[in-house]
């Protein structure tokens, strides 16, 4: 069973059920690690139509465990797209008006080149032979995809969490190619606490005997237990104390009293176990190592002599940042420091903090105030850019 699942995952990594753009030896991806990745591929989805002026494209950047299936059924899980509450015909990001692009990040496991992809050198999965991927590497690859569509300037780049890091990197690296930017629940660097949580997750994966030093795919096994534990720990950080208490309290799971054992007595335990179990069915463990690492390495100020404002010097991009009051992974202060840097750079910036107890994951949920802010920001940007947005 485990081997069968491993093969299904393997297929999605190399032959995804979404469009794929393949870059040959003539178009390598230059990596921050100091080497080039070639050949490589990007799996992506698009929604809506690119207009004649090529001015209505919105690039959506996904978070750590997201994928390109942002507004359509996910072929692996069978669930709706991860941001269908926001994106689609008649939605806040209206695919009748905008051309929406979302690609699987390089280092991911749903069809863009990542550790589960077959290396052309060995004919086996890269596993840990893949160089460490950075947020900027992901963005460089996305820029090559955007080039493929003949788009000089994206109308908007939007994303939450790790996706928000990509948005900031996009604006900093390609300011003239980003008309407006919407980084949500994110920061310009990963905090020590966040690196710590990621390290706990990685150690859980690597402690699983089935990880096999990263070569599990060759052995037809997968470190499911380790990855599930990593997901359980991470999932707690995506929520908030008050939301957990509201949803689960100390309620017991299908029983009247504690069993005086180590079964999942509490509902929260059962919930977390479920989160861990379902995650391993859709995600590659090595990919989890690579993507968590990319976030840890992200420090936009450090890339610009320690001064974050210098990352945005002279930028014309219009920004709207959003944070959530109960997000302890990327607390409001992280967004505020980006806002201060953008102010110092003289950039156009809006900043909305939304009151909610749903924690970091609030950006993925139906949050009317979030949608109102995105709607108002996009409409005003569309007026400035001369893009038709409708009533």
């Amino acid at each position: 069973m485990a081997a069968g699942r491993a093969e299904a995952r393997h297929d999605e990594a190399n032959e995804p059920r979404s469009p794929v753009l393949r870059f040959g030896a003539d178009r390598p991806l230059r990596l921050d690690a100091g080497i080039t990745l070639s050949p490589f591929q990007i799996a992506y989805q698009t929604y809506g139509e690119l207009n004649a002026a090529r001015s209505n494209a919105i690039l959506v950047c996904h978070a750590l465990t997201g994928d390109q299936h942002v507004a359509s059924r996910n072929p692996v899980t069978g669930k709706p797209g991860w941001w269908e509450v926001l994106i689609g015909p008649g939605k806040v990001i209206d695919t009748n008006r905008f051309f929406v692009i979302c690609s699987n990040v390089v280092g991911g496991c749903l069809g863009s080149t990542g550790p589960a992809s077959i290396s052309p050198l060995t004919g086996r999965a890269y596993s840990l032979d893949l160089p460490v991927i950075t947020i900027r590497d992901m963005v460089r690859a996305q820029a090559m995809l955007v080039d493929h569509f003949g788009i000089d300037q994206l109308f908007c780049v939007i994303g939450g969490s790790m996706g928000g890091m990509q948005v900031l990197e996009w604006a900093s690296t390609y300011p003239e190619r980003v008309f407006s930017a919407l980084p949500i629940a994110t920061g310009a660097r990963h905090s020590a606490q966040n690196i710590a949580f990621h390290e706990v997750g990685r150690q859980a994966v690597m402690a699983d005997p089935d990880w096999r030093g990263g070569t599990y795919l060759e052995h037809g096994v997968r470190p499911q237990k380790g990855l599930a534990v990593a997901r359980m720990a991470a999932h707690v950080t995506y929520l908030s104390e008050s939301a957990l208490h509201r949803k689960f309290g100390r309620n017991l799971q299908n029983r009247e009293r504690p069993t005086f054992g180590f079964d999942a007595d509490f509902q929260i335990e059962s919930y977390l176990r479920h989160q861990g179990m379902t995650f391993v069915d859709r995600f590659d463990a090595n990919s989890y190592l690579y993507l968590t690492r990319s976030m840890d390495y992200f420090d936009l100020a450090a890339d610009h002599g320690g001064r974050l404002a210098d990352a945005f010097a002279g930028i014309k991009t219009r920004f709207c940042l959003v944070s959530f009051t109960s997000d302890w992974l990327f607390p409001t202060e992280e967004s505020r420091s980006v806002v201060h840097a953008l102010n110092a750079a003289g950039a156009s910036v809006s900043f909305v903090e939304i009151e909610t107890d749903r924690g970091h994951d609030a950006f993925l949920l139906d949050e009317p105030e979030l949608f109102a802010a995105i709607d108002g920001f996009l409409r005003s940007a569309a007026r400035a850019r001369g893009v038709e947005v409708g009533p």
Binding site: R318, C320, V339, H340, N343, A344, A345, G346, S348, V349, S350, F351, V352, E353, I354, E355, E369, A372, A373, D375, G376, F377, R379, S380, R383
Partner: protein, 204 residues
């Protein structure tokens, strides 16, 4: 941050002072009424700072470029002369350090427009003089113990502060109870007595 929403005739008076097409920062922009007016009528490139998150969220939903922030602590992040005009509408009296705020405004903007309620107005004086109580009027609706307005001043006080920080008064307008301008020919003491609010255009 903008704490006096009851009588906003000062908005149009302030808007009239702004050159079309300029870069404007509205500190304490409230619900964004002035920014919206300026964008519509004067085609400005407008930004706002507002203390209340509700105000900010409303502004952004209306397509205005506004951030949550505090005039007392956040102006330090803005570069020198980053804006043609910095506006402070009905907010100065609610800051912890009005002098420091004014100095930041003069640093950030080529011109500064400040509007504030005049504590030298005859109604305020008469409340103190005859009733011996802090004034609660339609214009200043708060009781002394829960007011956000912690640094009231009179028109003459404000002129004194301008001198102290080396600001040049380019233009000054006083509005009476019914929101009408008080004649320019009138002396300061007249303004200070009958002006319910004042609007100053400054530079340094």
């Amino acid at each position: 941050m903008s704490v006096n929403h009851t009588n906003r005739v000062d908005l149009q008076v302030m808007a009239d002072l702004i050159a079309p097409g300029s870069r404007v920062l509205d500190v304490g922009c409230g619900d964004g009424a002035l920014l919206e007016l300026l964008q519509r009528d004067r085609n400005v490139d407008g930004r706002g700072v507002e203390l209340s998150q509700r105000g900010v969220n409303e502004c952004v939903a209306r397509g205005l470029s506004v951030i949550q922030g505090d005039a007392d602590s956040d102006l330090v992040y803005y570069p020198d002369k980053g804006f043609d005009y910095v506006l402070l509408s009905q907010t100065l009296q609610a800051t912890r350090n009005p002098r420091l705020v004014l100095e930041h405004l003069l640093r950030i903007g080529r011109h500064v427009v400040v509007s504030f309620p005049n504590f030298g107005h005859w109604r305020v004086r008469s409340s103190l003089f005859f009733k011996g109580r802090m004034p609660v009027t339609a214009d200043l609706p708060y009781s002394w113990y829960d007011t956000p307005n912690i640094h009231f001043c009179t028109i003459r006080d404000f002129v004194g502060l301008c001198t102290e920080v080396g600001a040049t008064v380019e233009s000054a307008i006083a509005l009476n109870d019914s929101g009408q301008r008080i004649g320019l020919s009138m002396p300061w003491w007249f303004w200070n007595f009958f002006g319910q609010q004042a609007v100053f255009l400054l530079k340094r």
